[in-house]
Amino acid sequence: MNDEDLLLLLLTLPFLGSFAAALLKTAARTAAASLAGLVALAALVITAALYPSVAGGNVVRISFEWLPTLDLNFTLRMDGFAWMFAMLITGIGLLVAVYAHYYMSKEDPVPRFFSFLLAFMGAMLGIALSGNLILLAIFWELTSIVSFLLIGYWHQNAAARDGSRMALTVTGMGGLCLLVGLLLLGHIAGGYDLDKVLAAGDAIRAHPLYLPALILVLMGALTKSAQFPFHFWLPNAMAAPTPVSAYLHSATMVKAGVFLLVRLWPALSGTYEWFWLVGLAGTATLLLGAYFAIFQQDLKGLLAYSTISHLGLITTLLSLGSPLAAVAAIFHMMNHATFKASLFMAAGIIDHETGTRDMRRLSGLFRFLPITATLAMVASAAMAGVPLLNGFLSKEMFFAETVETHADSMLDKALPYIATIAGAFAVTYSLRFIHTVFFGPPPTDLPKAEPHEPPHWMRLPIELLVLLCLIVGMVPAMSIGPFLHTAVTAVLGTETPEYSLAVWHGFNLPLVMSIVALAAGTLLYLLLRRYLATCENGPPLFRHLQGQRIFERILVTVSWKWARWLEAYSGTRRLQPQLRLLTALGFVAAFVPLYFGGFHPRPLSFARPDLVFSMIWLIGIFSALGAAYQAKYHRVAALTMLGGAGLMTCLTFVWLSAPDLALTQLLVEVVTTVLILLGLRWLPKRNEKIDNTVNFSGRLRRLRDLTIAVACGIGMSLLSYAVMTLPVPDAIANYFLEKAYTEGGGRNVVNVILVDFRAFDTMGEITVLAIVALTVFALLRRFRPAADSVAVPEQQRIQNAYDDARPERAPGDTVRDYLLVPSVIMQWLFPVIITFAAFLFVRGHDLPGGGFAAGIAMAIAFLLQYLAGGARWAEDRLRILPVRWIGAGLLTAAATGMGSWLFGRPFLTTYAQYVDIPLIGKVPLATAMLFDLGVFALVVGATVLMLIALAHQSIRVYRVRSPEPLKSEEA
């Protein structure tokens, strides 16, 4: 296997392992742990095996095209620095896996845990190995997502839920910023390939977009590394199982931020902005983290703040922009990972054995856990920066760098003092950790009595890490030296400085600083001891100013209160404002282009006056206004006025030579009126005398509506006048007029358009009708009238009462008398209207008429019988199956259209021919007629279905009241 394949394998192995672990049964604890361990081990071995390939400053690289046009490629790239980071990830990953197997309790669904852990390992490796900025961003966010799952692993615990959500929100947001920053870097560098970007450092720093890019990248890095002011998520993430804390929150994920800063160091660092931004964040974090750590009562809380502080240290180092500082930063990344991971594991053991992590309850554990205590003491010493341990070395390098001058500024000058103070704080909290937990009187109120040493395998990871601390601390050059060098050269390249990893550099200023810090820290601890033994969790002054609370409050305020207010304010759930907006915008949409385009309407022309036409419109206008005026209280009046307006519309169509339209509109008018009347029965009674009070805002609203209405009216007037007086364009209509007879075979051009030129529209239109009819039917099947409409209409009650009161009359006599003569006439009209419908149908192609008009007429014929005799009577005699009509109509129309395929023509190509029939002569036969037949059938079915379904509601209500069976609803 060559190096490239190994690289690919290294990245995919954890993901495959994660997938496999997810498939394991919940009870398969050992299998899951073994799987995780083996995968981590294999990854570690592979990483180690790749060392020769990167040792000489070489780079292992493998790339697949993914979205080549956008320069997003799946490029993996391992250099010395990535290698070192990968070692960290896999190595500590292995140890954590071993540790976790013993740590997790029997109730936990362990396979899920290991699945997440392995996925995290893969994502982390992805960050380390990405050779493409976007790919890096992808793995970056993946770590956020997986860490969310890991922190929330014990999700029955509210703290875990909150902590995980906060971690995801903060780091996810940071990741999104990072993405934009990386996009900008790619924009400047001309591509997202890491090598390309790193090579374009000078161009990047000189670019006007450098600052925004830097800020955005820093947002990503600082949130991930829990730097001030984004640090607060990390302590809350301590709700995670301890292995997670050890792995994510000390060794790896939080390192991703500083890893990125190091990774982009060649491209971004060295500027004034970099110094200030990174430096301020770093020093603030360094100091505050250390200060906060002192006052934590939770073991893991202490470690978390300590981690924050140490990450601040690394950040501060990186801010300095000097290569030596970068070396120190890289070195401290490694060192911190080793001692902090071991400390977390030790804390986990303590928690595991005693059942608490509260330092106020813990005491004198040395006698129960001597080995663990020893290990923890060594690791804490490393954390405190005690000589002969690895922490000391990198801290000395840090101190040395703070003394140097980098950018001549206040911050620069203050740095040595800040560093020393932070060092002292580190000593204090390290000391406190050890002293409080392991020394003093035996504990009294532990949740678990009798703590004892954990199984050896659980301790083994700590032992190994502490051993590493010692080795590196004592013989740094021999142990970590070459690896560190490989890493450093990978980052700094030719800028790699001379540095020495010796334990003893002579008695110099940094050493003095260290000594001062040790002494001051010890002193501080002694001073604070009493107070710390009993104080509340959190530092004085800041105790109530918890970042987490602020964050939560802001989140709730912004994403809930403000959002809800804004949603309510900028939106509405009421219909009227929506329609108001729609009509107003419709008006504006037409108005703005005309106004700003400088449209001049033609002067009004009073030519061609037509007295009768004007009178027709006078009536039309009167009716429209009347309908608008009456619609609230006098519904029937409004309906008649509406009918008047419709009638005038029909007359207009006739006046302007459009008989087809008049015909159709007239027929539709009739049906619509009946439909609305059918519905009117179910609307509430309304009385003008009641609820007629309108307050001021109501009046204002009306005024606004009136304004909109008038504006729309005037707008439509002007628009229609403008377009009507426009010179006629060279329209497609001419083609239709020319071809309608010669090629369409009909003299009624409108109808030829409907059934031939644009038959497809007609097909769609009848489909709409069909759909609506079916919907109406479906909806009415579940119709429930309002309580105040259920009763028999008042008129019927009075008339029935009248019949009841008289012995000579049977119930229903009144209505029978009422309809006696009309029903006879309406029955006579039945065949007449059918014949008339046939007439309309037949003449459609040459003269006004057609399938639609015929269909409506036919439907009216049926409707009339319902009107005359009532639903029961009509259905006793006429078995109309409207749904069948609809289906058959649709199929006929479609089949006619498809018939043209038989002649090799496109859908709906018509075919007309005259057939010679003996005696009768030539008879025109056109496929368009068949199509029209489909239209006819469908229209009959749909119209009847709607009318009848509506009419049936009355019967349904009565059926509810009386169990009398009724033959109905056959569709």
């Binding site: 979205l67 046009t69 956008l70 997003l72 992808i138 793995f139 966010e141 993946l142 999700h155 995980s164 959500r165 996810g172 999104l176 910023c177 993405l179 924009h187 400047i188 994403s559 809930w560 949603e567 900028s570 939106g571 219909l575 929506q578 009509t583 419709g586 949409a589 037409a590 703005v592 282009p593 005309l594 385009g597 449209f599 001049h600 439509m716 426009l726 364009p729 497609i732 209509a733 090629e743 030129f757 644009r758 497809f760 529209d761 097909m763 239109e765 069909a770 759909i771 079916l774 919907t775 609809i886 289906g887 649709l890 199929l891 043209s900 090799g904 496109p906 859908f907 709906l908 025109p924």
Partner: protein
């Protein structure tokens, strides 16, 4: 072309029409037969759509795209109605078919029994959608819009109940008013240019005299308002969240593509009519789309975080998605359009999956009791014979599967890596920052910052809302109540999410397709030529009186 491939273009309209008609004729009690026919029809649609896509994306000559033109009634453009299949419409067809398949299968578990004629309405909705995607004629577009809307009214009301009826009333009222605007716009355009064919219209616009041109612009603006209602642009979109929330899950899922129809039309018409070739009118309305889209994104994002119910959250996600698309269209560059198309595919699949998922998730939840009540009402009616005897078994792993799907939806909605939501946002943002491609240091337009910020913030809002909802749903509740879910219901969700995974993995080839699509959209000459030069099969014969 063979006989059948020649008529392939109309198949996406005819198959659902004929099947819908046949289903009408089948008795309501023959549910199995109806379901089978419906599923087969949808499968056929998928096959046809893929075939069309393969046909139009086949490279016959370098740089030349293929546009399939189908002349209905054998009348040439601009006189007759033509159907035009190009890369964009083909893509929409495939997307629609996929969504339809998922929704349909999902509905077979229970929803299709909640009222009569479900399958017919469903098929006719597909007919409307496909027709609107395919047609090259403005008025025919209106007709198919209406077909689609009518079916959507029916489906939205499917199952009845107060919530649906209330939302339906608003939905219908707003859309009826919008339809009137549509008519005004179309007729105005016809009155000025004398044509209804889109390609012909595009050719006529540059030649219009000034007065007529601004009238035409007014017409197009009115038309645009109608489309924007459908596309859900603020402030015309308040009907959308309630409607989508109230709809039955499979209906809401297929609705996810419906709001994209508005976007599709706006994209197609804006670029065709007001692209660079439109001369004086070039770029008309683009700013409105850009800023309107941006406001819509913001509104959607606010709505997403302000939503407590999952349904509303999903509804607002639709708005975010629409706003993003509109803004991207208004941006007006090939790269962003390509990215936006990718985003459209991804977000449509996501939202559809999410709508389906919501029902399953809420089934096990106390908080979803109101939804359940609606469901009960839908089934509890007297004329339903079968009862809950087959409504899902509590399977082990159900919760895990639901959780994974939910997580994926969250990741997709937030645009987080590694799924397609991220790729889409990345593609758009990268193209915004690099208008002339990576490497050329062309200045970044100021609006790019706003747009990128909104993309990020809307993602963040989705992230916040989805974690909030996810935690409440999966973590805060006791695991004992495992929702009873059928495999038949789970499979469509998984299918849709699997498609997003495929979209991610195959991002390169998808992007290549979409980039070509975007190029064709931005330089529509070949579209116009193909439509206008298509010849009838033979001169008409017969028909002589």
């Amino acid at each position: 072309m063979s006989f059948w491939s020649e008529h392939l273009v109309i198949a996406p309209i005819l198959i659902p029409l004929v099947v819908g008609a046949i289903l009408v004729l089948l008795d309501e009690k023959r549910r199995v037969a109806k379901s089978m026919i419906s599923v087969l029809s949808t499968l056929a649609l998928l096959v046809v759509a893929v075939q069309i896509m393969r046909y139009v994306s086949a490279v016959h000559a370098p740089g030349a795209s293929v546009t399939a033109v189908y002349m209905l009634g054998n009348w040439p453009a601009p006189f007759g109605i033509v159907l035009v299949a190009d890369r964009l419409s083909a893509m929409m067809l495939v997307l629609t078919a996929l969504l339809a398949l998922a929704s349909l299968i999902f509905s077979l578990a229970r929803w299709h029994k909640a009222g009569p004629h479900f399958h017919t309405l469903f098929q006719l909705l597909l007919m409307g959608l496909n027709g609107a995607f395919l047609t090259g004629d403005l008025f025919n577009l209106f007709v198919f819009f209406e077909v689609m809307l009518a079916a959507s009214y029916g489906l939205l009301l499917h199952g009845s109940g107060p919530a649906r009826v209330k939302a339906g009333l608003h939905y219908i009222a707003v859309n009826l008013a919008a339809a009137l605007l549509f008519l005004i716009g179309v007729s105005l355009i016809y009155g000025i240019t004398g044509t209804l064919n889109m390609a012909d219209l595009a050719a006529r616009i540059p030649e219009l005299p000034h007065e007529n041109r601004i009238l035409l612009e007014a017409g197009c603006a009115v038309l645009g308002v109608a489309f924007l209602v459908k596309a859900g642009m603020w402030p015309l979109n308040f009907w959308l969240p309630p409607a989508y929330t109230a709809a039955a899950a499979p209906v809401a899922a297929i609705f996810a593509v419906m709001s994209k129809l508005g976007v599709y039309v706006i994209m197609r018409l804006s670029l065709l009519l007001f692209g660079d070739q439109a001369q004086e009118s070039a770029g008309f309305g683009f700013d409105v789309l850009l800023y309107g889209g941006m406001i819509t994104m913001a509104f959607g994002a606010v709505g997403v975080v302000a939503s407590q119910a999952l349904g509303r959250l999903a509804g607002y996600s639709v708005l975010v998605s629409s706003g993003t698309m509109l803004a991207a269209v208004g941006w007006g560059s090939t790269g962003v359009t390509a990215g936006a198309l990718f985003y459209m595919v991804s977000s449509t699949l996501t939202i559809a999956a999410f709508f389906l998922l919501i029902e399953l998730v809420e089934r096990g939840q106390d908080a979803g009791a109101n939804v359940l009540a609606v469901t009960m009402e839908a089934y509890g009616d007297a004329d339903e014979e079968e009862e809950d005897d087959e409504v899902g078994v509590a399977m082990p792993g159900t919760l895990a599967a639901l959780g994974i799907c939910f997580g994926m939806c969250g990741i997709l909605l937030a645009g987080l890596p590694p799924l397609s939501g991220f790729i889409a946002k990345f593609a758009m943002m990268s193209s915004m920052f690099n208008p002339a491609g990576l490497g050329s240091d062309l200045a970044i337009r100021p609006s790019a910052w706003w747009l990128v910020a909104l993309i990020i913030l809307s993602g963040l809002s989705a992230l916040i809302a989805m974690t909030r909802a996810g935690i409440r749903t999966f973590w805060a509740s006791i695991e004992g109540t495992v929702p009873r879910v059928l495999v038949m219901e789970m499979a469509p969700v998984i299918l849709l999410l699997f498609l997003t995974v495929m979209l991610t993995l195959e991002g390169g080839s998808v992007m290549a397709y979409l980039e070509e699509t975007a190029r064709n959209l931005h330089v529509p000459q070949s579209y116009m030529n193909d439509v206008m030069s298509a010849q009838p099969i033979k001169p008409q014969e017969g028909g002589q009186p």
